[in-house]
């Protein structure tokens, strides 16, 4: 560690003179940054917050996570007000309502507090930057890429979605279909999009239906946490276990037993710890005046590397994380 630090500082010195013109101001020390999750004890949010707190520790700030025990918009407001009174340098918030918080967050920003939303955004005027877990294209394509690898790019496939009018699902499915048009998927055929309505029972029977209706079915993508776990539950006791590959978007806690018993090899979701980590660095970059949140601004987020602010102050974490036997025990959410 010492050696690396030395090498780095040597490098900094040698490059110093040339870099002065380009260098961004360093992150300030002792920045007060507060995480305000949707709900303080929600396991998913706890992981995201802890990722953020770890980052704050890294750059020498003072971090904390506060928030309501119910996921109501109005209950977040009193926390925003408190954080304003405490003169926090930045608030990182997962908003419970896209609009209800905006006037309060505006008041925070007027007082010089930087506002970063993550996980769940407000209207753009309510924050400086939104950290998006993944963009729809990234998720859609990554799901097909994963399934392709798992079934050797050959065979019938199906999608087990939530409801026919779920906006996020439909956008992902659209990008899955785009990805499937690439030549390497020429031997994969999408035979059916089924809908489990994000209902456990319905998803279970839809999965059963898919397997019975398509004897050549090789893989199913279920980009919904309800669908994939219900699907896995059916598959785990059916003769198709090990023959039909199921993947999609799920949480490690939900899917752990199915990964361990071999029903599911791999599935995806963004890594909430990284999400919080990135949000903390974005907040620090804002509070240190490295960036203002306008399109094209760039900042470095510790171990995650360099990020660029996109349209409407949006920063995308990146493609989803793939969970499998090798890494699933590192996650608890």
């Amino acid at each position: 560690m010492k050696h690396r630090a030395f090498a780095l500082s040597a490098l900094t010195v040698t490059l110093g003179i040339g870099a002065v013109a380009l260098a961004q101001p360093a992150l300030k020390k002792g920045l007060k940054i507060a995480f305000l999750p949707k709900q303080i004890n929600n396991p998913y949010e706890v992981i995201a917050d802890n990722g953020g707190l770890a980052a704050i520790k890294e750059f020498g700030g003072v971090g904390k996570a506060v928030g309501p025990s119910d996921a109501g918009a109005s209950s977040q407001v009193s926390y925003i007000n408190t954080l304003i009174a405490q003169k926090q340098d930045a608030i990182v918030i997962a908003a419970n309502d896209a609009n209800a918080l905006v006037p309060y967050l505006k008041r925070a920003m007027q007082g010089g507090t930087k506002v970063v939303t993550f996980d769940s955004d407000t209207a753009p005027e309510g924050r400086n930057i939104f950290i998006n877990q993944a963009n729809s294209e990234g998720i859609g394509r990554a799901q097909v890429q994963l399934l392709g690898k798992l079934i050797n790019y050959t065979g019938d496939i199906a999608i087990l979605s939530a409801t026919p009018n779920a906006t996020n699902q439909n956008t992902w499915i659209k990008w899955m279909q785009e990805e499937l048009k690439l030549p390497k998927y020429k031997n994969m055929r999408l035979v059916k999009i089924a809908y489990g309505n994000d209902d456990d029972q319905k998803s279970f029977t839809e999965m059963q239906g898919l397997i019975q209706a398509y004897p050549n079915l090789k893989g199913v993508i279920s980009p919904t946490t309800v669908g994939i776990s219900a699907g896995a539950r059916y598959l785990s006791t059916s003769p198709s276990k090990g023959k039909v590959v199921l993947t999609g978007l799920g949480t490690p806690n939900q899917m752990r037993q199915f990964v361990k018993d071999g029903t599911v090899t791999a599935f995806q979701l963004w890594n909430p710890a990284d999400l919080g980590y990135l949000a903390a660095y974005a907040a620090a970059a804002l509070a240190s005046n490295q960036i203002t949140g306008k399109e094209g601004d760039t900042f470095t987020a510790g171990k995650l590397g360099k990020y660029t602010v996109g349209k409407n102050g949006e920063v995308v974490l990146g493609p989803p994380t793939t969970f499998d036997k090798a890494n699933i025990d590192k996650f608890n959410f």
Binding site: G72, A73, N81, T82, A85, Q86, K87, D97, P103
Partner: protein, 330 residues
């Protein structure tokens, strides 16, 4: 006379606790006793404060209205729905009040005409009105209200840090206090609460007054719903879920007897502020939500327990003082 003095004692206690809570907050954090923080803090419980006024009157006549927060939600959802349907805002507000009044009227009719206990009636309408609110908006939210109106909910009285909803509350609190403590109507409320049968025989129109109080409660909840909607610039079916408990808690802590016949507006208002200030002070030093809820709960139990114990003590002392006579009679 004695009971009046005892009551004033309780109010004085609550007011003293308010001062203590403010001082405590100031000691805990230098950021607490600032105009902007106190402004946020009071705006934060304006809906509870509003609804506590009519709740005080209702509990004094020994009834209860558990449906207020649901009426708030229904009012919010209705206001949003009307606005989204391009109804002009003044008319939308008027219709929202009408709906609140009707909701209160239904509560009142069920209680007075059918003679059902208000506890049972309003548990039912709590679900009914919340259901109607969801039926109107589902999980949608209407947000694009004109800035003039959202400023009414969000802004402060020009030149001061007093939130506009709080100024509105101050006016209504004075009116309610006058109504309860300085009019014949107010005296009738105490009479009904103390003994509704006796009040009836004395010529008080008990049912009519109760009906009126439920309508007032519905109107006040609608007002709270309008304030809530503008304060958050967001109309949702789930707005204000659970607030009824905060309202009732504050009124009881304020010394209004759950059995009716006793209590004052000053006490209820002081208690609303006490709970709000304690919450704000604990939040600013990052006390967790669980502890906050526990503190509020203990405060409430204490508020029921302490006056009760004091009354028993006093009664015991009096009984001891008159023992010879009492023994002779029995």
């Amino acid at each position: 006379m004695k009971s009046v003095r005892g009551l004033l004692g309780w109010e004085a206690t609550i007011l003293a606790l308010v001062v203590l809570a403010l001082l405590g907050g100031a000691l805990l954090s230098p950021d607490f006793l600032t105009a902007s923080n106190l402004s946020f803090l009071t705006a934060n419980f304006s809906e509870i404060a509003l609804m506590a006024l009519t709740m005080t009157l209702i509990i004094i006549v020994a009834e209860i209205d558990l449906s207020v927060a649901s009426i708030l939600g229904l009012a919010s959802a209705l206001l949003g729905t009307l606005w989204a349907a391009h109804v002009p805002m003044p008319l939308a507000i008027l219709l929202t009040f009408l709906a609140g009044g009707l909701a209160g009227l239904l509560n009142g009719l069920l209680v007075t005409r059918l003679g059902l206990p208000s506890l049972a009636v309003t548990i039912g309408t709590l679900a009914l009105y919340r259901g109607l609110a969801y039926a109107l908006l589902g999980d949608r939210a209407i947000a694009d209200f004109p800035p003039f109106y959202t400023n009414l909910g969000f802004g402060t009285v020009p030149g001061t840090a007093i939130p506009i909803p709080m100024a509105l509350f101050a006016v209504l609190a004075v009116l309610t206090a006058v109504l309860l403590h300085a009019t014949a109507f107010g005296r009738r409320l105490y009479a009904i609460g103390a003994n509704s049968m006796a009040a009836r025989f004395a010529g008080v129109q008990v049912e009519r007054i109760k009906l009126l109080l439920f309508v007032m409660s519905g109107l006040m909840a609608a007002l709270a719903g309008i304030v809530y909607t503008f304060r958050f610039s967001s109309a949702r079916g789930d707005n204000g879920t659970g607030l009824e408990l905060g309202v009732i808690a504050a009124v009881l802590l304020g010394g209004v007897s759950i059995f009716g016949g006793r209590g004052s507006v000053v006490g209820a208002v002081a208690a609303v502020f006490l709970i709000g200030i304690i919450n704000g002070a604990l939040t600013i030093v990052d006390v967790s939500n669980e502890i906050l809820t526990i503190v509020t709960g203990l405060l409430l139990i204490g508020s029921v327990l302490v006056p009760n114990l004091l009354a028993r003590l006093r009664a015991a002392r009096e009984r001891r003082a008159v023992r010879p006579v009492g023994d002779a009679v029995s």
